[in-house]
Symmetry: C2
Subunit: 173 residues, 2 copies
């Protein structure tokens, strides 16, 4: 009897921990982005790194691409298409020269992340988003969803990488 | 009695989970880097993102700076000096133009992470590394420690940011 009670206690405690881990920052909050109805996924800033990039031109940013557990697992296993539940987050910051670093290097060579520009998400749901390759798209500027016109441009831009399930970013090993 | 047994079960289960979390990928492996004796920390590729950067010149890389749980907590709380146990990882990859992305953008503007160049670590231990600001330094090229001459240059380069506990990278919000 004591053994069973002990076992029950352990199971309850483990369940509590697993549930906590699955929702470390609670449920999605804030306003949903247009068309795809995506809210900012909770805890995305804690997700693991897929890769980094720099865009010149109008974007002029440094970016980090992060993935939730489902996305990271698929990337590492080279699994395509991404399974439902995968979410990819693209964070971006202004591309800013670092005077501090340049002094140490003795030349102007160092560029770092300035203020955040915007955050984008791709959410895989092959049923809900069947008409856009199984992906929902969202962009948030300073926590607020971008407008509908912008969200209408997302999928078309990703079509050229259809063979990689519409995802541009390669995993950085 | 039953309550106490239940409680004990819960405590044991929680302890198991906490210990598992602290060592998700086992112990450090591989050859130790010279001078500071640092091995590649297990699971560092899973650590959370501090920031991103681009270095031109000879380095010509895109880099991601990750932190273990102790480092991330200190960064987010603005806590200086970093507490013992903090580890900061700097991953870097060759700075490579993406023809694929440029086609979509219609201009040459996209740079992505190519092959890895090297990985560096800063490990905080205020006793062990007292003579170098409380930090031990290590660089690994393709998993192999860099030579002693290189490791002799690390601390001097970090002295200009002594007021930020010898750490260059700011947390990207």
């Amino acid at each position: 009897m004591r053994g069973i009670t002990y076992l029950l206690g352990a199971v309850v405690a483990l369940t509590v921990v697993v549930v906590y881990k699955a929702h470390p920052s609670g449920h999605a909050e804030g306003e949903a982005a247009p068309i795809f109805g995506i809210k900012t996924p909770p805890g995305y800033r804690d997700w693991r790194l897929i890769s980094v990039a720099h865009e010149e031109g109008k974007l002029n940013d440094l970016r980090a691409i992060l993935g939730n557990d489902v996305a990271i697992k698929a990337y590492r296993e080279g699994k395509l298409p991404f399974p439902d539940g995968a979410i990819i987050a693209r964070l971006a910051w202004s591309y800013v020269p670092s005077e501090e670093n340049n002094k140490v290097f003795g030349r102007a060579q160092s560029f770092v992340a300035g203020p955040a520009t915007n955050v984008q998400f791709m959410v895989k749901d092959s049923i809900k988003y069947a008409s856009t390759g199984g992906w929902g798209f969202a962009q948030f500027n300073d926590g607020k969803p971008a407008d509908e016109a912008l969200h209408n441009t997302c999928f078309a831009c990703h079509v050229p990488v259809k063979t990689r399930d519409f995802v541009f970013t390669h995993y950085a090993r």
